[in-house]
Symmetry: C2
Subunit: 145 residues, 2 copies
Amino acid sequence: MKTDQASNLEIADELHSAAIHLLRVLRKQDAEAGLSAPKLSVLSVLAFGGTATLKTLAAVEQVSRPTMTKLIQELEADDMVKRQTNPDDRRNQLISITAKGKSVFGTARRKRLDALARQVADLSKSDRQAVVKAIAPLRKLSGRS
Amino acid sequence: MKTDQASNLEIADELHSAAIHLLRVLRKQDAEAGLSAPKLSVLSVLAFGGTATLKTLAAVEQVSRPTMTKLIQELEADDMVKRQTNPDDRRNQLISITAKGKSVFGTARRKRLDALARQVADLSKSDRQAVVKAIAPLRKLSGRS
DNA sequence: CAAATTAGTTAGTTAGACTAACTAATAGAA
DNA sequence: TTCTATTAGTTAGTCTAACTAACTAATTTG
């Protein structure tokens, strides 16, 4: 197979399209899931990675600090995360997930992903294999591993 | 490998995360690309599929009709698409891409996807292979084939 | 110790999504 | 055939999440 610039562009195009359409499918679940994609994603980082500063979260999620400030404020208002000032550097807000956050995260994620999981289940064995094998490279593409 | 409900959920989760992060990478190119993701996507449908009604576009892009109305109005204001009433059913707006639309689409898409194409180029041969093989199944997941 | 840097917030704007309620056109049924 | 239901698209209003610019507070550095 050719892997020149043209075909890389075609691959990029397909991925771009796939990402847009996958997220649109998922967005339809949002209303009942009770937690939007960005918030779910932040909670996921905190659930699996533990405490983090706002700046770190913004970097990991690839959004600006003000955007993360707002997300955290809303999550905090809903008792999903808590923050405490770092005694060693009081500019830092150490943010962590609450028990409520964990529980809501678990159920909301499940709800949000259920439709997609069902579609994954409907794939043929070889299609599913292909998807599984692509996951690690996809992570690399957005600079997350 | 197990392919039970739990692991389907894990796959869904990874894809969800990958889609979110890929689009965030792409969004950073938007300012200079001059055409946002949704508009690019609509123009793509018109460029490859020819004339379509607003309703069809909304269905294909999986957004509501008002959302598509607004996108088309903005694209029309920029001379990227033109519309004409269907003489056989004057409720229908037949929407098509203009010459300017085609040209802007070509260059904007290239610009927007360039960063991603470069990252695809940086993948190892086997990683790229894995991504290529996943494309068809990914289309199935969002119901587009 | 003053200046520069860093972390986070506030204010204001924008794009793109939604629902509800509307107009206009067509199709169907009494 | 006319009145009703349906269909296509628009308008109005709201929401979330993104951005930049400009700010405060804390810390580091020259």
